[in-house]
Symmetry: C2
Subunit: 267 residues, 2 copies
């Protein structure tokens, strides 16, 4: 499982405060602790006003790179900002994200063509998030056509099928699970990713929904996730699910992860 | 999800002690608390020497029936004891279990023919637990043939595909998940059940394996489980998984279960 540590995001009040106060130590702590917990990428999202976003991103990226060698996931709603931020990074990481909205692929795909940068691609376009599985797969096909134009191998893409909140769904996540299975069938080396918390919006005891969502999605083929790697119960379930899906022969990673304290004793 | 409460089992040391000391209150407490936690059946298993098993089962069954109206799952390795115990029950429950071993179906299927009793059926025969999915499905076909002879509707059967411990598996639970999917495809109204703890034998932090196993199995079609209904994290994941699989429109059961305290706040 590819873990994208989500904790450096200005939408989180304590991070917004650290940004406002130029609290470098807090940002470095978040970077280091997420790297130590097994993150493969450290997501960096300023969530500031657009006028100060680029300078904030630079400040954050510099701090993360002082704290850890773990690659960065450059996260901005602006494709232009993403493209600028790539140049600030010491090594290839992950762009978060493109979609078929506007000129996103026109800006980001050329910027990562011929590099080792990976990229999150959301299955939406200018008409929003498609409702049916078929429509999402059409957006997926369009993204893959664009990626091919720039010779970006499927193994560099993390497709986010975009899960909407469960409380207003009539069919649960069945459509999303079908989309994940179909994507992995078409491109076995592609990654499927997603956040694990939008799904539980407006529901009580959100952790159960988030955890069961992640396990079910991994069962369908999700192999990348934007999560809090310091959440030990979630991490324990991820290690367990990999072992159950046959991706961890004789449970070696599960047992080592336990010994290294990457997850807790279980509740 | 059909919950079969597992806590009245003489293999559990505190229950063995209660049986030895004739501690009726402890047994009644286990029955009542599991019923209150949402069990659909209360499993009763003496796990004593065979000479005293029938009288122990009678003592246990009488106590459970004093404590709750929830139907009983009569649980014995002996088909003859199961058949005797059915007569002690005030209302139809669940027989745990038949398989294609020896004369089990010859004894139990006639005993429940023409009644409303349900029955757990394990996918094993006189040669043990089959290794391949195909072989398990052959045992399944044999059980269904026997059930048909006695006019036992598939909706009265809970098929246990028998999961072996993960630590010695090379392929995880993929074979079992395929078997579950195929069984539900062949008989949409049949139930698929299982225990959720053998799987984690010999591994650390077993709860994570048990929980992820149950969520993945539910994703494949499992709709019945022999578990501890007082384990709030497990129950929270079960409610969440039902909502995610589209079996709980607008999450009504999930929200009500939370309000009624059937599971915790989440960790």
């Amino acid at each position: 499982m590819i873990i994208i540590g989500e904790k450096i995001n200005g939408a989180i009040p304590s991070v917004a405060e650290a940004i406002a106060n130029k609290d470098a130590e807090h940002i470095k702590y978040l970077a280091k602790s997420q790297a130590d917990a097994g993150s493969h990428f450290i997501d960096v999202c300023a969530s500031t006003d657009v006028e100060v976003e680029l300078e904030t991103m630079k400040w954050l990226i510099d701090l993360v790179q002082k704290a850890t060698d773990t690659p960065i996931a450059v996260d901005s709603p602006s494709a232009q900002i993403c493209a600028e931020c790539l140049k600030m990074c010491n090594k290839p990481g992950l762009v978060n994200s493109v979609s078929m909205e506007g000129d996103k692929t026109d800006i980001i795909f050329p910027a990562i063509a011929g590099t080792e940068w990976e990229c999150v691609a959301l299955l939406c376009d200018d008409s929003g998030i498609p409702q049916s599985g078929e429509q999402r797969l059409k957006v997926f096909a369009a993204i893959m056509d664009r990626a091919k134009e720039f010779d970006i191998d499927p193994s560099r893409l993390h497709i986010d099928p975009l899960v909407e909140m469960l409380c207003t769904s009539e069919d649960g996540i069945n459509v999303v699970l079908e989309v994940i299975r179909e994507i992995k069938k078409q491109y076995p080396t592609i990654h499927v990713t997603g956040g694990a918390s939008n799904i539980s919006f407006n529901l009580p005891a959100r952790k159960f929904i988030n955890q069961a969502f992640l396990v079910l999605s991994m069962g369908a083929g999700m192999d990348s996730a934007i999560i809090n790697p310091l959440h030990k119960h979630m991490m324990g379930l991820i290690y367990a699910t990999e072992a159950l899906m046959g991706d961890d022969e004789y449970c070696i990673n599960y047992i080592n992860g336990y010994r290294e304290g990457l997850y807790g004793p279980g509740k």
